[in-house]
C-alpha cells in the first residue's frame, strides 16, 4: 500500500491498530455471540478521540480529517464489524448531520458531548414499510407553536436504545412525500420516545438495532436541522458520506478475512501439500487481494474528497457499489477456502461472512448506488 498517507495519518492508523488489538480483539467474538452493546469499548474509543475524530476542534473534535477517520474504521473492522458500525452510525451519520447542517448553536449544544463520548448518536430514517398500511407508521412532525410533535415508528435503527441523541427524519408535510421530510435532533430521553423492541440480526451483532416508537414526542423548533423539507437531502448526503466509511468497513473485514484464509491455506494440507499451493485457491486469493486493493484506493480517494469539501456523492456511490460486490464475494470465497472449518460458528471467518453483508446493506432498497452515479453522469 503506497497511497500517499501523511505521516500523521500513518501514526493515526498505527495508534488505531494498537488500540484495536488491545481493546477490541479480545471482546469481538463475545459481543457477537451475546449480541451486547460494548459500552466500555465505546468509552475507550471516546478517550482516544475516535468519536469526534474528523469533527472540528472548536466543537471538541480532533480535526483529523475524514481520511484519518476511515483509516480508523478500517482498523476497527479488521477486529469487529459491529464496533465499526457503532462508530459509523454515531460519527458519519448522527454527528455528520449536526456538523454539516446544524447551526452554530446546535453544534455547540450537541457536538462537544458527541465528541467526548458523553453522548452516543444514532440516525433514525428507516420505517417499517413492508406491511400493508405502512403509511400509518410514518413518523409525522406536526408544528404546534414553537414545537413539533412527532408521532410514528422507526425500525432497524442502529445504536437504537443505547444512543442519547437521535437525528430523526419526519414528515412535516406528509402530503408532499419526500419533499415534505425534515430532520430533527431529538434527545433520547425525551418523553414519548420509547424502544419497543431490539431486532436480532444475521451479523454486526453488538451494534444494537431497535424499533423506536414516537408518541407525542415534543421537539423544539430549535432542533430542526436546516429548514423544513430538506430532510431527504440531508439524509442522502449523510448516507453517502457514511457509505465511504462503510466501504472502509468492508475493506477492513475483507482484509482480515483474507489474512485468515491465507493462514489457513498455508496450514491446511490436502493431497500432500498446503491447499494454498493449488492454482484454484491462488486464483481466489489473487482475485480478492486485487479487489481489496482497488476498493481501498477508492475509499481513500472518496474520503479525501469529503475531507477537502469537494463534491463526493458520485464517488461515494461508486465505493458503495464496488465494495458491496467485492466484500460479499471475498467472504464467499474465504469460507470456501476454509471449508467446514470456516463455516463453524466459532471461527472468525463465519463472523466476517455475516458481518460484511451488513456493511453493504442499503438503507432503502430503492436507493441503489447505480441511481446516484447515473444521475450524476446524466446531469
Amino acid at each position: 500500500m503506497s497511497y500517499a498517507l501523511t505521516e500523521e495519518q500513518q501514526l493515526i492508523q498505527q495508534s488505531a491498530r494498537e488500540f484495536t488489538q488491545e481493546y477490541i480483539e479480545p471482546i469481538a467474538s463475545e459481543i457477537d455471540h451475546a449480541s451486547i452493546h460494548p459500552s466500555a469499548v465505546v468509552q475507550l474509543m471516546a478517550e482516544h478521540d475516535f468519536l469526534g475524530l474528523y469533527l472540528p476542534e472548536e466543537f471538541g473534535g480532533a480535526s483529523a480529517g475524514y481520511l484519518s477517520y476511515v483509516l480508523i474504521i478500517e482498523e476497527i473492522s479488521r477486529m469487529s464489524g459491529a464496533v465499526a458500525s457503532i462508530l459509523i452510525n454515531h460519527a458519519s451519520l448522527a454527528a455528520y448531520c449536526v456538523n454539516r447542517f446544524g447551526t452554530v448553536k446546535q453544534k455547540q449544544a450537541y457536538l462537544p458531548a458527541l465528541c467526548s463520548g458523553e453522548k452516543l448518536g444514532a440516525f433514525a430514517l428507516t420505517e417499517p414499510g413492508a406491511a400493508p398500511g405502512a403509511g400509518m407508521h410514518k413518523v409525522v412532525a406536526a408544528k404546534e407553536g414553537d414545537n413539533y410533535v412527532l408521532n410514528g415508528r422507526k425500525c432497524y435503527i442502529a445504536n437504537g436504545g443505547v444512543a442519547d441523541v437521535y437525528v430523526v427524519f419526519a414528515l412535516t408535510s406528509p402530503e408532499a412525500g419526500t419533499k415534505g421530510m425534515s430532520a430533527f435532533i431529538v434527545d433520547g430521553n425525551t418523553a414519548g420516545l420509547t424502544v419497543s423492541r431490539t431486532v436480532g440480526k444475521m451479523g454486526l451483532r453488538g451494534c444494537q438495532s431497535a424499533e423506536l416508537v414516537f408518541e407525542n414526542v415534543i421537539v423544539s423548533s430549535h432542533n430542526l436541522l436546516g429548514s423544513e423539507g430538506v430532510g431527504m437531502k440531508i439524509a442522502q448526503q449523510a448516507q453517502l458520506a457514511a457509505s465511504v466509511a462503510e466501504g472502509a468497513q468492508v475493506v477492513g473485514i475483507a482484509q482480515a478475512a483474507m489474512d485468515d484464509a491465507v493462514r489457513y491455506g498455508k496450514e491446511r494440507i490436502q493431497f500432500g501439500r498446503p491447499i494454498a499451493a493449488f492454482p484454484a485457491i491462488q486464483t481466489m486469493l489473487a482475485e480478492m487481494a486485487t479487489n481489496i486493493y482497488i476498493a481501498r484506493l477508492a475509499v481513500y480517494d472518496a474520503a479525501s474528497l469529503i475531507e477537502r469539501d469537494k463534491p463526493f456523492m458520485k464517488e461515494a456511490a461508486m465505493v458503495k457499489l464496488f465494495t458491496g460486490r467485492i466484500g460479499q464475494s471475498a467472504l464467499i470465497d474465504v469460507i470456501q477456502i476454509e471449508g467446514g472449518y470456516g463455516y463453524s460458528q466459532e471461527m472468525i471467518a463465519s463472523r466476517f461472512y455475516r458481518d460484511i453483508k451488513g456493511a453493504v446493506i442499503n438503507e432503502s432498497s430503492a436507493d441503489f448506488p447505480e441511481k446516484v452515479i447515473a444521475k450524476d453522469l446524466l446531469a
Binding site: 428507516t126 414499510g129 413492508a130 406491511a131 400493508p132 405502512a134 403509511g135 425500525c155 432497524y156 412525500g177 419526500t178 421530510m181 431486532v199 436480532g200 440480526k201 444475521m202 451479523g203 438495532s209 431527504m232 494440507i269 490436502q270 493431497f271 500432500g272 484454484a280 485457491i281 458491496g324 460479499q328 464467499i332 469460507i335 470456501q336 471449508g339 467446514g340 463455516y343 463453524s344 460458528q345 466459532e346 463465519s350 461472512y353 455475516r354 453483508k357 451488513g358 453493504v360 446493506i361 442499503n362 438503507e363 432503502s364 432498497s365 430503492a366 441503489f368 447505480e370 441511481k371
Partner: protein, 379 residues
Amino acid sequence: MADIMLTLEQQKLQDFVREFTAKHIIPVASEWDEKGEFHEFILEEVKKIGLHCMAVPTEYGGPGYDSVSQSVVMEQFGYGCCAFATTLGGNGLSSYPLAIAGTDEQKKLYYGRLVAGGMGGFALTEPGAGSDAGACSTTAKLDGDEWVLNGTKCFATTCGVASIMVVFASTDPSKGVKGLSAFIVEKEREGFSVGATEHKMGIRSSNTVELLLKNVRIPKDHLLGNEGEGMKIAMKTLDMARPIVASMAVGVAQRALDAAVAFAKEYLDVNGKPIGMNQAVGFKLADMAIRVEAARQLVRNALRMKEAGVPYTKEAAIAKTFATDTAMYVSADAVGLMGNQGYSKDSFVEKLMRDAKVTQIYEGTNQVQRMVIAGQLLK
C-alpha cells in the same frame, strides 16, 4: 402453478410435499435455527408420510421413487429448511453405498433400519482428510471374524442421532487411497461414541458431530464391497448425491426469490410506490429468476440422463456447482434487496444466506466438482 414438465404423479407428489412443508417445516424452521437443536419432531412427521427413506428400493420396503421425484421432494424440503433437507439428504446419501456395493444381506440390515425409522449416517471426513479422502487415518484391522476400527471422524452429518452408518477406514494405510474401505457400523457397537457437536453458522438444526471409534468390533461381513474399494464407493456415492444437494439448493434459491418478490410488491418507496416498480429492482429479480430456473433445469437434465442410464457424472457436477452457486448468490441478493429487514431476524432470507454457503462446500466442494468436470472434459 403446475410444473407441467413433470409427470402427473410427480406433480401430485410436489403438491403434497409443498403442503407438508408449509404446514410442518416452514412455521418452525427459524426457531430451530436459532436454537441450533436437532429437528427430531419434523422427522417424526416425515416418517408418518413415508418420505424419510426415499432412496430405499421397493423390494426392501422403500417408496420406490424415481430420481426426479426424489429431487422434487428435496427441492421442497430445501425450500422449507435447508438444515432439515440436509438431514434427509444425508439419510439418502448414507444408503447409496449399499446400492453401489451392498450384498442382499447388507441391504436388508441397512435399509431395514432406515425403513423402520432409524437414521443413517455417512462418515468419510477426518480432521486431516477433507477433499483429500485418501489421507484417512482411521484404521480397520481384521481380527479373526471381526474388523476392529480405530480413529476419529469429523463433520459427520446426522451421525450423532443415527442408528446405522457407513464409516470409511483404511485397511492398509500404506496404500493411501487404495487402502480405503467402507464398513457398516451400528450405533450400539461397543467402543463407538459421539464426540463434540459442531456449532455451525448455518444449517444449525442439522446434526454435525465428531465420531470416536475405539476398538469398535464389527462382524467381518460388515465390509462393503472388497477391501480397498472404499474410495471408489465414496466417489460413486457423491456422484449420486450431487443432484440431491443441487435440488435442495434450488429450493433455497426459490425461497429467497419468492421472499424478494413478495417484498418488492409490498414494500413502498418514499413516494408510496412498490419498489418492484423500479426497473433496477425488477431486473434484479429477473436475474435471480433466470438463475433459479436454469439451476432447476440443469438438475432435472442430469437426473433424466441418470434415469436413461447414460453417464451423467459431468452433468451432475455441473448441476451441483451451478445450483449451489445460485443458492448462494440469490440468497445474498435477496438479503441485499430487502435491506435492513432482510438482514434482520424479522425475515427468513438471512437464514437462507447462512444456509446456502454450506451447499457450496459439502458433498464435494465446488472446487472438487470443477476437478470432476475438467477431468471429464479432458479425458
